[in-house]
């Protein structure tokens, strides 16, 4: 009865995504939070790469 199981999973998933009618509010809250936390990790990593390039270039020119 694979078809019935698949249907059952689909119903459960839909219910989960629906969030009792609050889908827009719950998912945008979690989505925006994830985005802000990820960007806060990404920016310092990018800045570090750029800084290391700058400083290493400066050290090489001095030698």
């Amino acid at each position: 009865m694979g078809g019935r199981d698949a249907e059952y999973t689909k119903i459960i998933m839909n219910e989960f995504l629906h969030m009792g009618g609050y889908a827009v509010f719950v998912w945008s809250s979690f989505g925006i939070s994830a985005l802000v936390l990820l960007l806060n990790v990404l920016f310092p990593i990018m800045r570090r790469k750029q800084l290391i390039r700058d400083v290493e270039g400066h050290i090489r020119r001095k030698q």
Binding site: F25, R48, I59
Partner: protein, 258 residues
């Protein structure tokens, strides 16, 4: 007088304090500590997310919308914690002119601004279905908006002043003056009539929340806390690399890099 072999506790403390304040030593510490903070933060945030979205039951009054608590409350808590760190680092910058403290303050500001913005945005997304409005000009929300402006003001001030030391000191003064806002935020829900509820979880009382809902929240708390330390250390390392770029330890650190 204390000799090298017989140091008093306060001598030991100050020796540790000065050693810890040395950019070269702190950078080595941060490099070693970062993977621990990053991995534990990542694991806890993921666990809290699963716990909050799947495992916790829906609230009997608020239904599924209460799940916003799992990002709203940790973000709000971290925005206050980060401000305290920033203000204390500012005080150390003013009193001892410690470079490391200034780096911590500068590294904390964008994180604090992000947490505050998140608390405001998720709060407003929670307010719409529960209160019927995205925003009210009440004590809690207004004092939180001021907190956001304090962070943004600090960042603008520090980047607008060309001389680095003057910039750091001006920023530190602003951060310290802004501390008055913290008790206002805390007591705002008691002083003024508001839509915002009082604390659900406090140190003094047993929390007014079921354990199955509380555990994911506590996991999220620690996750956010460790996340702050991880990103703060990354930013402090960048600040130190930038300001100490002409020193020997930076050249050594870069040459030993994998």
């Amino acid at each position: 007088m204390a000799t090298a072999s017989k140091l008093s506790i306060s001598d030991r403390f100050w020796r540790w304090f000065h050693g810890f304040g040395s950019p070269a030593r702190f950078d080595r510490f941060a490099q070693k500590a970062l993977p621990w903070f990053s991995w534990s933060a990542g694991i806890l945030l993921l666990a809290g997310l699963i716990g909050g979205l799947f495992l916790a039951p829906a609230d009997y009054q608020q239904g599924e919308s209460f799940r916003i608590i799992y990002v709203h409350v940790p973000a709000a808590w971290m925005s206050l914690f980060t401000y305290v760190v920033m203000a204390m680092a500012g005080a150390v910058t003013l009193i001892w002119r410690m470079k490391l403290a200034d780096a911590v303050a500068r590294a904390s500001a964008p994180l604090g601004a992000s947490f505050t913005a998140l608390a405001l945005i998720t709060g407003s997304l929670w307010g719409k279905p529960m209160w019927g409005t995205y925003w009210v000009w009440d004590g809690r929300l207004t004092s939180y908006l001021i907190l956001l402006f304090l962070y943004l003001g600090y960042m603008a001030l520090v980047s607008a002043i060309v001389d680095r030391r003057t910039a750091s000191r001006a920023g530190a003064v602003l951060a310290l003056v802004g501390v008055v806002n913290l008790p206002i935020i805390h007591f705002s829900v008691e002083w003024w009539n508001t839509l915002h509820q009082g604390a659900t979880v406090s140190k003094m009382d047993t929390p007014s929340m079921d354990t199955s809902m509380l555990i994911p929240l506590l996991i999220m708390f620690f996750g956010f806390q460790l996340y702050y330390f991880a990103v703060m250390l990354m930013r402090v390392r960048n600040e130190l690399l930038d300001t100490e770029r002409r020193t020997k330890w930076v050249a050594e650190m870069l040459s030993t890099r994998k």
